[in-house]
């Protein structure tokens, strides 16, 4: 079994991107920390040859559900996203516009997009993680990415103009 440090090396960045996409900048780092602490606890029992990335995304998904449930208990409407990205905490950390677009997606679509397009998981694995059928996962990701492409334009082309 590989030292857990190597697991953090290999999958830390992708899990952070997934947490950012699913939860936004304010809560992504707490979710990442809880995910890897839970993974460290369970790691010695992980079966040989298991898909480590799918395993980590599964744990991250459970942490994300905890956060989104707590959020809905606080009755913050997901659809109402302020126009100014600074309202989301750390605008210097990553693009507020992208999170603004992601935050407008239904949870299910946002998760399917993150798990497929960022983590690279096949829809069959995503269905196992989120529940529902493979087709439903495929549709959620397709609907989500279509909406995103219509509402968000990557800003990398103007990055060079920044001081």
């Amino acid at each position: 079994m590989r030292p857990f440090e190597r697991i953090v090396d290999e999958y830390g960045p992708v899990v952070l991107r997934v947490c950012r996409a699913v939860l936004g900048p304010a809560e992504a780092e707490d979710a990442w920390s809880e995910t890897f602490l839970a993974a460290l606890r369970a790691y010695p029992d992980l079966p040989e040859g298991a898909n480590v990335e799918a395993w980590l995304v599964t744990i991250a998904h459970r942490k994300a559900l905890d956060v989104t449930r707590a959020r809905s208990r606080r009755a913050v409407p997901v659809g109402e996203v302020p126009d100014r990205p600074s309202a989301f905490g750390l605008p210097q950390d990553w693009d507020g516009d992208l999170w603004a677009a992601l935050a407008r997606l239904p949870d299910r679509q946002r998760m399917a997009v993150a798990y497929h397009y960022l983590a690279g998981l096949p829809y069959r694995d995503i269905a196992e993680i989120t529940g529902g059928t493979t087709d439903a996962a495929r549709r959620a990701a397709a609907d989500g990415i279509r909406t995103l492409r219509a509402t968000y334009r990557p800003t990398s082309s103007v990055e060079g103009a920044r001081p």
Partner: protein, 205 residues
């Protein structure tokens, strides 16, 4: 693995911004939380020294492993994960006392080490040999035969050589002070040059 994955990474490029800064912070936080929750079975760090980069690894019982560069630190960590626990994280705080003492040793302001040692990687006679090595004082040497006698098996000279060659805690457990009866330095886990460097360092103090 999936269609559209690579092109989508450009689209989501903003998510990867400042990954390094965030991940550095998060890894430190993870190590601290693991220590707090009793999940940090093996903590490790490296230090620079006159005998090259040394890997230091510790369990909660004490210093578990000191490894020279030539032993291949990745391979050493992989072995520790296999034989002790895969819960291995880079985490400096647990290793701070021994790192500080090694720095003092290499700058000739320290002659003995005062940190708990975890000898679980050495078994039986080899462990018995290692526990006798600190009896050889700083700046002194002993022959393999003398150590064999001290360990209660005067004929086990070759086994003493093996115990030294497989010492999991070189420098701290001073196998470099065990030399051939003819006075030549003999082999060393860190290479003969490292052994001479340590012997010269102690002789000059």
């Amino acid at each position: 693995m999936t269609t559209g994955h690579d092109s989508a990474l450009d689209f989501f490029g903003a998510l990867a911004r400042t990954d390094d800064a965030a991940l550095g912070r998060l890894r430190e936080r993870l190590a601290a939380a693991a220590e707090r929750d009793g999940l940090l079975d093996i903590a490790y760090r490296t230090i620079d020294s006159p005998v090259g980069t040394l890997l230091l690894a510790a369990t909660d019982a004490g210093l578990l492993r000191v490894a020279y560069d030539r032993e291949d630190h990745d391979a050493v960590l992989a072995k520790l994960a296999d034989v002790v626990s895969p819960r291995v994280l880079r985490a400096a705080p647990r290793l701070d006392p021994v790192a500080r003492q090694l720095e003092e040793y290499f700058s000739r302001t320290r002659r003995t080490f005062d940190v708990p040692l975890d000898f679980r990687l050495a078994k039986g006679f080899r462990r018995a040999v290692l526990t006798h090595l600190p009896d050889i004082g700083y700046g002194h040497t002993a022959s393999y035969a003398q150590i064999a006698a001290a360990a209660g098996s005067p004929r086990a000279v070759r086994a003493v050589g093996t115990a030294c060659a497989t010492n999991p805690l070189p420098v701290v457990v001073p196998c470099h002070r065990v030399v051939r009866s003819d006075g030549s330095s003999g082999g060393y886990v860190g290479g003969e040059q490292a052994k001479l460097t340590l012997l010269n360092l102690e002789a000059a103090a």
